[in-house]
């Protein structure tokens, strides 16, 4: 149950092409990440909607292969 940092980035980038993404492997175990995502596509959306956009880009992996991903979204 682990996921590669590059794979996470790839999925988010596919859904949010203009996003700048900064991901950190918090524990170095490929299981606990934190991601800061900045995109113009977040503008006018609530935090809940913004986070859902990130979750849906990960196509059901969140909460399964990916145990912990702290998300911070920012509008560009």
């Amino acid at each position: 149950m682990a996921m590669d940092l590059k794979e996470i980035e790839k999925h988010i980038k596919e859904a949010l092409p203009d996003a700048s993404i900064k991901i950190e492997d918090l524990a170095g175990d490929g299981n606990h990440y934190s991601a800061t995502i900045t995109s113009t596509q977040f503008s006018g959306k609530s935090k809940i909607e913004q986070h859902k956009m990130v979750y849906s880009s990960l196509r059901g992996k969140m909460g399964n292969e990916l145990h912990a991903l702290a998300i911070k979204t920012k509008e560009k």
Binding site: K47, I48, H51, K52, G60, G63, A68, A70, K72
Partner: protein, 110 residues
């Protein structure tokens, strides 16, 4: 999702002004994210109901579908889904959480 589970989840949310679906209990959280949200509510002296999803696999999976949110914890205030750990933490730090509590008429330590 099973109608019965949906009803159980809805009842928790309806019967508790501040309802936190979490892993573990507020006294003994079993996950760092659940502990973080629980602690923020405790610091604000908010009276909340912690629903331990580890005690019921159907609630654990059901609440994710119910809220259309893939992770636990999940915070509801007056029947409104506020968010998971990251959002609640951001709101706590920005002061927005207090604003929501005031707007919704929830007692807390100012």
């Amino acid at each position: 999702m099973d109608d019965q589970i949906k009803k159980v989840i809805q009842n928790h949310i309806n019967n508790n002004e501040v309802c936190l679906f979490m892993k573990g209990t507020s006294d003994a959280p079993q996950c760092g994210f659940s502990m973080a949200v629980s602690n923020m509510l405790k610091i604000l002296e908010v009276n909340f109901k912690g629903v331990n999803v580890l005690e019921d696999q159907l609630i654990r999976e059901g609440v994710k579908i119910f809220s259309d949110w893939p992770t636990i914890p999940q915070l509801y205030i007056k029947q409104e889904f506020i968010g998971g750990c990251d959002i609640v933490k951001e709101m706590y730090e920005s002061g927005e959480l207090k604003k929501v509590l005031i707007d919704k008429g929830i007692k807390f330590k100012k």
